[in-house]
Structure formats: C-alpha cells, structure tokens
C-alpha cells in the first residue's frame, strides 16, 4: 500500500507532518467542526484526525479539485473509511482531473481487503467498474475476499452485480462447487447457485432433475445441513411435492437409515401436506403420518421449535381432519384435543 505522507517509515520514526505545518497548504485556513456549546457524546479525535479533517472541511467548502485535494482525501479515508462524503468528493476530483482509474481500482482493492465489510468502499468499487467498464479484476477480488470469509455479504453482492452486468456466468457453478466442497453448509454459496441457474438456464425440467439429485446427495451427506434442504425445497417451489418423482422415496431411504434430522422430518411433513392439499385418497392416514412427524419434532428432534410444531399440527388438524372431532388416532398423536386450532 502506498505510504501516505504521514506514516511511520521503515526506521519506525513517525514522519507524519501535520497539514497545518505543510508550506504548500499555507493558503488554506483550517475549519473546525462546530457542535455548539454542549456537544453530545463527543468523539475524542486524535490530533492527526482533527488536523486532516479541519483541512478537508476547508478544501471541500472551496470545492477545490486538485492533486493535493485528492491526496488529502486519501488521508481522510485512511482515518475513517466510512465517511461517505469524502468518498463522493474523491470521485468528483478523480473525474475532474481525468485520473487514470486503473490506479484507483488497485487502491480501492487494497482498502477493501483491509475493510471487507465497509459499504462505502464496495460502492466505490462498483462506481469505478461502472465508469471504466473494466470487469477483469472483479471475480478475482471477490474470490480473494471470500477466501478469508466465505460468507461476506458485500463480496457476494458485488459478485452478483458483476456477473449479471457483464454476463460473466461461465465460471460461477465451478466456484460454487469449490466452495461447497470446502464447506457444504455455506448458505451464501447455495444462494448463489440458485441465482446463477435462475439467470442462465432457468429451472427447466432437465436442469431441475439434476439440481434435485445434487441437493439430495448433499442432504444425504450432511442431513442436518439446513441450506441443502432449503435449496431442495426452493427448487421445487413451482412444483407439487406430492407428485414430483422420487421425493418420498429419497426421504424414506434416509429415514430407514435412522436419520432423524429435523429438516428431513419437516420435508416429509411438507410432502404429506401437499398430498392432502392435492386431495389424496387416504386423508386420515396421511394426516396421521404428518401429525406423528409434528409430534416427533416437537417432543424429540426439534424441541426448540416445540411450540411451532404444535401449532403446525393444530393447523393441519383444523384444515384436514375429518368432521368427526373425536377421532382417537389424531387426538393421541397430537397429545390433546383441547388446543385452540387458531393462533
């Protein structure tokens, strides 16, 4: 990173020269912040901070667009990279001075790596890419950031924008596969997968078949991985769970293998509910199976959501139970017939 004129040099000496002591700034009268007679929760600015920002205020008031103003914004950003007014002013100067933005893109990339969760620097990056239409560094930048934090929301958001804006879809699925290999519970990667397919092939029957199989394999590998189950369910949103081939068989295979993941049980309940919605033949038996699952979730396999699963059971009973309220089977399964079916 370029050494600002105020950093410690290699000898460890502090070579910072205050702006008030720089002869080339003699023409500027520094402007102090004015918080009135009773400032609230005053920030204890360092001398350096006050010096830089006193000069920045003065130069912004003049709306000076010069090399020295540009350098001053760099110091101001270094002290507070979240000051959106400074970034805006910097962009105005860059445009006015017709600066070579290649250097700016490099500089911006350095700040992103130091402050990967800062909104302003990612926005700056996006503007630079919009101006230059140069997308050649963006995929690499986001990968570098994701390497450190695979779920960084800003990185994913920027990547989605770049990929969509410039049609760079080619390598997305392989990136996702790579990330899921490292961590198949990476929800951001799953989300990106949905995004990419949605915007490229779409979930055609053929694509859907593959995606369902892929998701099922992942669910099988890590049955408690909510992300994979959400993806499976998400792909099938437009379909009827009860008639999509192989779903219940897939669930039963896991169930018979003694898997009791709450996501598996919940998904099975979803299928039963869809069967009931679509008007299956044996309503009583199907409802019973669904209610047994609700009870299992509530009492044993997802107890933190006991109240929720009890509510789901009540709702299903209320919606699908045969008119005969004294059906013993369903009453036993839900542990009591006195519950208010409404919330």
């Amino acid at each position: 990173m370029a050494l600002g004129s105020g950093e410690e040099n290699a000898a460890g000496e502090n070579s910072w020269v205050f702006y008030k002591d720089r002869p080339e700034w003699k023409d500027i009268t520094p402007m102090e912040q004015d918080d009135g007679p009773a400032p609230i929760v005053m920030i204890a600015y360092s001398k350096k901070f006050k010096d830089v920002y006193d000069y920045l205020r003065a130069i912004m008031r003049k709306d000076e667009r010069s090399e020295r103003a540009l350098e001053l914004t760099e110091d101001a950003i270094d002290l507070n990279p979240a000051n959106y007014s400074v970034w805006h002013y910097r962009r105005i100067i860059l445009k006015d001075l017709k600066k070579d933005l290649k250097d700016e893109i490099l500089y911006c990339g350095e700040i992103i790596q130091e402050h990967p969760k800062n909104y302003q620097v990612w926005h700056h990056r996006r503007v630079l890419v919009e101006w230059t239409r140069d997308n050649s560094h963006e995929l690499k930048l986001t990968e570098t950031v994701l390497d450190v934090d695979a779920k960084n929301y800003h990185a994913w958001q920027h990547r989605q924008w770049v990929v969509r804006e410039f049609g760079l879809w080619e390598s997305e699925l392989s990136l996702i596969d790579e990330l899921l290999q490292k961590d198949l519970r990476n929800n951001s990667a799953w989300n990106h997968r949905y995004f990419v397919i949605n915007h490229t092939t779409g979930f055609t029957d053929k694509v859907l078949e593959y995606e369902v199989k892929h998701a099922q394999d992942m669910c099988g590998k890590a049955p408690n991985n909510e992300s994979a189950w959400n993806y499976l369910r998400g792909c099938l949103l437009e379909k009827e769970l009860s008639s999509y081939p192989g779903l219940m068989q897939f669930c039963e295979r896991l169930y018979e293998g003694s898997i009791r993941s709450p996501h598996l049980l919940s998904f099975m309940r979803d299928i039963y509910e869809d069967q009931l919605e679509q008007g299956c033949e044996n309503v009583e038996a199907t409802l019973y199976k669904a209610l047994v699952l609700c009870e299992a979730l509530s009492m044993e396999f997802d107890t933190i959501r006991a109240e929720y699963w009890n509510y789901i059971a009540r709702r299903m009973k209320s919606k699908f139970a045969p008119h005969d309220e004294t059906n013993n089977k369903t009453a036993e399964a839900t542990g009591g017939a006195g519950d208010d079916p409404n919330l």
């Binding site: 009135g36 909510e226 992300s227 109240e307």
Partner: protein, 310 residues
C-alpha cells in the same frame, strides 16, 4: 436508555440534545433543487455552523446533504426526548425522501454516492410514518421491491437474488407493516414461508442466516419480525432469554453479540429490545415496526393528532 426508563440520566441535557439534533437538519437553500438534499446529517463533519433554530441553509454548503438513516435516527431521537417536532420542515424532508427512491423501488441513503438496499426502504418507511406523510415514497414500487426480494428459502434478502438475512427480513416486513401493505403484498403461503424461515433461525438465541453463529441482535431483528407476523409466541422464550443474558458483560455492563465478547452500544440496545419483546421486567414495551417504545409512540400519536387538526 429510554427503553430502560432511564432518560433522567440525560434529562438535564435534554434541550441541548434536541438542539444538537436539529442543528443537523439539512434545510432548503438558495439552490433550486426541489429539496433533494434535505434530511439530517450524521454529524457536523462537513463544517456546517451550529444553529438549531435556522430555517434555511444559506449560503449552500458544497457536499452537504442528508443521509436517510440519520434522518430516521434523528427523528426517532427527537420523539424519545419528547420534542414536539415543530422545528422540522416536513415538506422539505418528504421532497428529499422522494429524490432517494430508485426505479426499482428501493432507496439509496444519500443523494450522491450511495448503495441502495432494504435498509433504506425501512428508513424511508419509518420517516414517512413519523412525518405522517407518504408522498415521499412510491409505495407500490417499494412494496414490489420487497416482494421480489423474497428468496427461494422464504426469507428476504437486501434485494432480489440476494441471500436471505435476518436484518433485511425485518426491514422488509416492518416496512410493509408501516405501509399497511403486508397482507396485500405477500400471499398467506408466502407469509407462512417467512414465518418458518424466521422460526428456523432460533438455535438458542437467533442467527441471522442459516448455518451462521447466533448473535444477540438477531433476537430483535428476527424476534420483532415474528411479532409483526403474529408468530412470536411460537419461539422458545426461555432459551432466547437465557442466550441474551449470557452475553451480558458483568464488569462493564451492556450486551455483546456472543458470550465473553466485548459489549457495544448496538448489541446493548438490541439485547434490551430482544428482552422487551418477551415483556421482561424493567424494560418498556416496544413497537416492533418503529423500533421504539410504545410510550414514545404515544407521544408521536399526540403530535399526529395536533398536525391533523390544523
């Protein structure tokens, strides 16, 4: 502090606080720009002179403009402090707000140089609700942006296609409640999906996204969303309370995102709000969409009555 009924700690300074907030109102200037820059500043960094009773910003200060989150926060604080909002230039504020909405229905935070996402849709909704004036928001477009931001997994992201997240889900649902568009935007099946997504965030406390660690503030973001969706009673309150309290710092006080982690103002506030949702003693009841106490909302309602009677 208002939530803890402890505002008397700053009571002596109340008027100074109110003045300081008003000194950040960016008012119309001699520029003929339809109040596009109007709103509240976050701080005096830009060098504006301290003047809590000014009625215009003349001469115009280059690079001076409001920030939607600061406008929201400023208004909220004025209400908490019991101010009557009489020094607000409401028309200028709503005109300013209008200039921040984009074609896709979302909002940016500042006139120049800002990203746009669900956070600012929420700020715009709160501002409009507080000002009792929705002319600054194209509600149809905003509701449509929210609708398109629901993810395949039922939660809501910062924008269409983006990963669903507890914060953006809150912003989306709270905005629709304030706009009175919740039930006309999402079908009952879609609302069920949002509910289930939220319910699934509870591990002991709440996480913000699937497979991420829990964090105290999500007890508010996700908890409040469930309140707004009439499903808060379906959570495990004992586990939630236990988690929030476990993040309390026994030496300096406050709450942190995780146990044995450093506390900060944000997590202290949302920890208290998370407890408020469960009617904890010594904490005021809160309005889950406006993110302030019901006591403060009552004060706002009185102000609204006085505006409407004019």
């Amino acid at each position: 502090m208002e939530m803890l009924s402890s505002l008397d700690v700053v009571q002596g300074n109340k008027d100074s606080l109110i003045d300081w907030i008003y000194s950040h109102q960016v008012l119309p200037s001699e520029l003929d720009d339809d109040c596009r820059r109007c709103g509240f500043r976050g701080s005096s960094t830009i060098g504006a002179k301290f003047n809590p009773t000014q009625v215009s910003c003349e001469p115009y200060i280059p690079y001076d403009f409001g920030h939607i989150a600061q406008t929201y926060t400023g208004l909220l604080c004025l209400i908490l402090l019991g101010d009557d909002l009489s020094r607000l230039q409401r028309v200028a504020l709503t005109r300013g707000l209008r200039a921040h909405q984009l074609e896709d229905g979302s909002f940016k935070a500042t006139l120049h140089g800002s990203e746009n996402d669900m956070r600012f849709v929420y700020c715009a909704s709160c501002i409009s609700y507080i000002l009792d004036d929705w002319t600054g928001v194209d509600v149809d477009k905003a509701a449509d942006y929210i609708y398109r931001s629901q993810s395949y997994d039922g939660g809501i992201g910062q924008g269409p296609g983006l990963e669903s997240h507890g914060g953006s889900t809150y912003c989306a649902v709270a905005s629709l409640v304030l706009m009175d568009r919740l039930y006309t935007t999402f079908s009952s099946v879609e609302l069920d999906r949002i509910r289930q997504w939220c319910i699934m965030r509870q591990q002991n406390g709440f996480q913000g996204r699937p497979m991420k660690p829990v964090d105290t503030c999500y007890s508010f973001w996700v908890g409040a969303t469930l309140k707004l969706l009439d499903a808060f009673d379906l959570i495990d309150k004992v586990a939630n309370r236990s988690y929030i309290l476990s993040t309390q710092d026994s030496i300096v006080g406050g709450f942190a995102k995780w146990p044995d982690y450093h506390p900060d103002a944000l997590h202290a506030y949302f920890g208290i709000c998370g407890l408020s949702l469960m009617n904890a003693e010594e904490v005021k009841e809160m309005h889950p969409a406006l993110n302030m106490s019901t006591h403060a909302v009552q004060h706002l309602e009185k102000i609204h009555l006085s505006w409407r009677s004019v």
